[in-house]
């Protein structure tokens, strides 16, 4: 959805510039250059994980650019057989994208909601796939599990919204800490039962260890509830957080493609291919998996073209993934250092 309306002449001016040799873009970037991306994690104190990302923000006054807040919240959910709740064994993810009306001031309420729904569908389908599911969202097997809510809030859209959403989602999920839980179980006071049982059954000569068929208490040897042992500890990170995918949007003006389109370029070039790649750490980053793929806009693509574009997209995704990982590790260090310093100063 483009945020600007362009005339035919403007559109052809932009596409002509892109097709030129060497290609020309309004801001002087190369076709495969990104604008400046800035990222910060841990911006929402009340969330389990959060991030704020902006693409193409003006460095002088922090204005302009695509800006997204993402935050995760964990909720305890009970798994029931009766299908009354949606809780599932091993936890589940719920992803939601919402747009501030300030980001799309020209859209009506109804169009905005449709657009939110479109974006939510793309993110939810990609990120909540079982191949990416973190395996530490379970609390008590068969009883309780974590429901991970990921909320993304678009504050402003200056192009390339899909890449930005996936970057923000990856950063927030990376930052998420699952509270440590300890299972609590109820044990019937055994010595007491056997003691009294032995007294009563001494004449009858029956096995005292055998319990009454009506007593359900001793069957509950598995955990029934849980507690949070470390109140002050933030918990552990999501398992397999390396796997969360990154998205690259290839904007297509056959025979060329370009990355990180501005709103004007998006309006001029409506055809796009979204590629979401995941880089599992085990397979030495050369063997990424294509988690999702989607074409937007009208027009056709041949299979041969798509094959080429996937190859190219994989290269760009790897660059983006590497850069993002460096930044995320950097943020981890920054925040742990900050926390340590604060702790040290508090103790002094």
């Amino acid at each position: 959805m483009s945020t600007v309306l362009l005339s035919k002449a403007e559109k052809s001016y932009i596409t002509a510039g892109l097709k030129q040799n060497p290609p020309q873009r309004a801001d002087g970037r190369h076709l495969t250059d990104f604008r400046l991306i800035s990222l910060e994690t841990g911006i929402a104190d009340l969330a389990n994980g959060s991030s704020r990302i902006s693409i193409g923000r003006n460095v002088n006054d922090n204005g302009g650019g695509t800006e997204i807040f993402a935050a995760t919240k964990l909720e305890v959910e009970s798994i029931s057989v009766a299908e009354t709740s949606e809780g599932r064994e091993g936890g589940r993810l719920a992803i939601n994208v919402s747009c501030s009306p300030a980001a799309y001031p020209h859209l009506t309420q109804i169009t905005l909601e449709d657009y939110q729904h479109d974006l939510t569908a793309i993110l939810h389908a990609t990120l909540s796939h079982s191949s990416l599911h973190p395996n530490n969202l379970s609390i008590i097997p068969g009883k309780k599990s974590w429901l991970l809510h990921l909320d993304l809030l678009i504050l402003s859209d200056a192009g390339n919204i899909h890449d930005a959403l996936f970057l923000a989602a990856r950063a927030a999920l990376w930052d998420t800490k699952v509270p440590k839980t300890r299972s609590v179980e109820y044990k019937a006071p055994k010595s007491n039962i056997t003691g009294s049982g032995a007294n009563e059954a001494s004449d009858m000569d029956v096995d005292t260890a055998a319990t009454s068929g009506f007593s359900t208490r001793t069957h509950l040897t598995h955990a029934t509830d849980f507690e949070l042992p470390d109140y002050w500890d933030e918990g552990e990170v999501l398992n397999g957080r390396d796997r969360w995918p990154v998205c690259v949007t290839l904007n297509l003006v056959p025979p060329i493609h370009f990355l990180d389109a501005t709103p004007q370029e998006e309006a001029a070039v409506p055809r796009r291919l979204l590629l979401m790649f995941s880089f599992p750490p085990s397979s030495s980053s050369h063997e990424p998996t294509l988690q999702a793929m989607r074409t937007l806009g009208t027009g056709e693509l041949s299979l041969a073209q798509i094959k080429d574009l996937i190859q190219i997209g994989q290269k760009h995704a790897l660059d983006l993934y590497t850069a993002l990982n460096v930044k995320l590790k950097d943020e981890d260090v920054r925040r742990t250092l900050k926390a340590q310093e604060r702790f040290a100063s508090a103790r002094r």
């Binding site: 009340l46 204005g63 807040f69 919402s98 501030s100 300030a102 001031p105 009506t108 504050l155 402003s156």
Partner: protein
């Protein structure tokens, strides 16, 4: 059993270590956000609100225009992750509509709407985090965003929440305190000393009301200083940026060094 949190302990400290009349830390960011004509991010402690102002501009719906003044349209959005417990509030939520209509009625007499007949001023409020004093933060943020957008106003509108714990008044309440003590939000116009808004949803003894009302008014004046200095800072930064191109004069007030 978990012990109950003391609202105000014997030493005169509150649950977050503040004194009775101490306000939380206020940070104000007036940088441009997206395409908005004016915007402000304001935090009172852990409560954070982003306000974007568009306009005065042509109304999206012609039926919304008023022939002799501008229409102020307020839209409040609460981020799902903003509160302690995740909750997705839909647009039609009563609580949100109430905040929006309170903001609208607070600012309608303050903004000089008569200067822009048949136009619309859109105020989009996004609540990013909430820990008490939501309405006060929304009001202060809207004031700053309107000023930042260059919309003429009669005065600042500065709001503070006050509460009364048994007989001792408290200012700038957190969620924890709001849940426990009766509280009132007061918005004042510091230059004239007029009151733009008083709202209270809980019961408060009438004898206590005057004291807290007076205190909140004074606190509003303190906030006004903070807000004014933020606006001045932003404006002088803009003037500096413009001045450095046009004239060669040092804008920071230093005398040029005489090397002769």
């Amino acid at each position: 059993m978990s012990s109950r949190v003391e609202i105000l302990n014997d030493g005169g400290y509150r649950s977050d270590g503040r004194r009775q009349f101490e306000l939380r830390e206020v940070t104000i960011n007036l940088a441009q956000q997206g395409h908005a004509d004016g915007s402000a991010i304001i935090t009172h402690g852990l409560t954070q609100v982003l306000v974007s102002v568009f306009g005065p501009r042509e109304a999206k719906m012609r039926s919304q225009t008023i022939h002799d003044r501008a229409n102020i349209n307020v839209d409040v959005n609460v981020a799902a992750f903003s509160a302690g417990e995740r909750r997705k509030r839909s647009r039609g939520d009563k609580r949100i509509l109430e905040i929006a209509s309170t903001l609208k009625s607070t600012f309608e007499p303050v903004v000089q709407t008569t200067l822009y007949p048949r136009s619309q001023i859109d105020v989009y409020v996004t609540v990013l985090q909430q820990d008490g004093g939501l309405l006060q933060t929304c009001i202060n943020g809207t004031t700053l965003a309107l000023i930042n957008a260059g919309i003429p106003m009669l005065d600042f509108v500065c709001a503070v929440t006050g509460g009364v714990h048994s007989t001792s008044p408290l200012l700038d309440l957190t969620t924890l305190e709001e849940n426990d003590v009766p509280h009132v939000t007061v918005a004042i116009m510091p230059k004239t000393g007029k009151v733009a808004l008083v709202t209270m949803e809980t019961r408060l003894h009438v004898d206590r009301f005057e004291e807290i009302f007076r205190l909140a008014g004074e606190a509003g004046k303190v906030l006004h200083r903070e807000m004014k200095s933020a606006v001045m800072g932003r404006t002088s930064a803009l003037v500096d940026a413009m001045g450095s191109q046009g004239t060669g004069i040092d804008r920071d007030g230093d005398e040029p060094m005489n090397t002769a």
